[in-house]
Amino acid sequence: MEWPGRSAAGQGFCACHVCGLVSRLEQDDLAARCPRCNTRLHFRRPDSLHRCWAFLIAAYILYIPANLMIMMETGTLISYRKDTILSGVIHLWHNGNPGIAVIVFIASILVPLFKLVVLTLLLVSVRRGSTWGIKHRILLYRIVELVGRWSMLDIFVVTLLAALVQIQSFATVRAGSGAIAFGAVVVLTMFAAMEFDPRLMWDPLRKEREL
């Protein structure tokens, strides 16, 4: 694919990320503010890659306890279960509704893993200045932005069940510490995706053309 025109940054223009107003900006003007809404202007998100890596690495680390530790403890008169995310999904598949099990599997296991892998791929490709498969990479970026929030599903389910199922000694549900790690993974990957500046993916293509 070829870059079809001129980029704002290449022409010394900068679009405000809040109101969208395009202004002409000196290359080294770090304190510049948008004339319309007074937001600080920058050609590219400052330290986008470093911050994105930082959030991503933290998310990778917490991804392990999030999947190994107990998410939810369920106790009734006749049984007592401790469930991680995966064992909860398997239990739901066998003893409940397979359709709902698939939804929980997608939201709690596939989506976080997909986000981690895709963000790593995007970061590595930007670092290498790659122009390969840009159309596919921008699509992956949009999917990550779109689906990230749905991982919060399990946190809401745990909150509701732990509060609701408190019937003396007959039935109790408690949230496990896995829920803390899992919530942190969701929040950290959302921050990582917000820090990533998609315009960085197009810069190598633009430079090829403008040389």
């Binding site: 679009a15 109101c19 969208g20 002409r24 809404c37 937001t39 739901l92 069940l161 732990a162 949230a175």
Partner: protein
């Protein structure tokens, strides 16, 4: 000092510099390089958004004042509102998880609706209150953290998990959350931030003269 340009826009995803063109009603402009949606021309945006915001605010109050679900097991029962659920989880030594639910399902949606009212009520009469650009910036920052639709799915999944062992009593808030999800989706697709910025431009020009 940065010098504003009136007719140019830049794609927020690929930074392609483009000239803005007027759009027919209901159409959207897409970037010719990466395909991102640049801007939309939404019919009657302010009136519709205001109506939807007021309706959503009413449903929000109902959804947060009544129990979502009740369960019953051989005569022993329990029912919780969303705030009670957050409070109970806090008392079970889960302050982090409980805060996360509080922020994403209670605080951010409420803040979003209040800020929208602050913008849209005066705009309905053609005015703008001070701090409009700060409000717009705050709205943009908190937007990803309002998760009413995910919470709605959470209620449904909990319902399926509970239905084998307990007798379920659906609460008023269950239906209100369903309605709120729909209204917020409609609001997101009818509100056009460009209308607000256009009014701000006019106001600034008038004050500059």
């Amino acid at each position: 000092m940065p010098e504003p340009h009136k007719t140019l826009i830049a794609c927020h995803e690929c930074d392609l510099l483009l000239r803005e063109i007027p759009l027919p009603q209901g159409k959207a402009a897409c970037c010719c390089c990466c395909g991102a949606t640049l801007y939309r021309n939404l019919p009657d945006s302010i009136n519709r958004s205001l109506a939807l915001t007021v309706a959503a605010a009413i449903l929000y109050l109902i959804a947060n004042s009544f129990p979502i679900l009740g369960i019953n097991l051989q005569g022993n029962g329990n029912a919780v509102t969303l705030l009670q659920a957050v409070h109970d989880l806090w008392n079970q030594d889960m302050p982090l998880v409980s805060s996360l639910t509080f922020i994403t399902a209670i605080l951010v949606p409420a803040l979003e609706l209040c800020l929208m009212l602050y913008l849209l009520l005066p705009l309905y009469r053609g005015h703008l209150l001070p701090g409009t650009s700060q409000v717009m910036r705050l709205l943009q920052t908190i937007k990803p953290w309002g998760m009413v639709e995910v919470f709605m799915l959470g209620i449904l999944v909990s319902l399926v998990k509970l239905v084998q062992d307990f007798k379920i009593i659906p609460g008023v808030a269950l239906w209100s959350f369903g309605g709120l999800t729909l209204l917020l989706a409609a609001l997101a697709s009818s509100f056009n931030p460009r209308d607000v910025w256009m009014h701000l431009d006019i106001k600034q020009r008038r004050e500059g003269l």
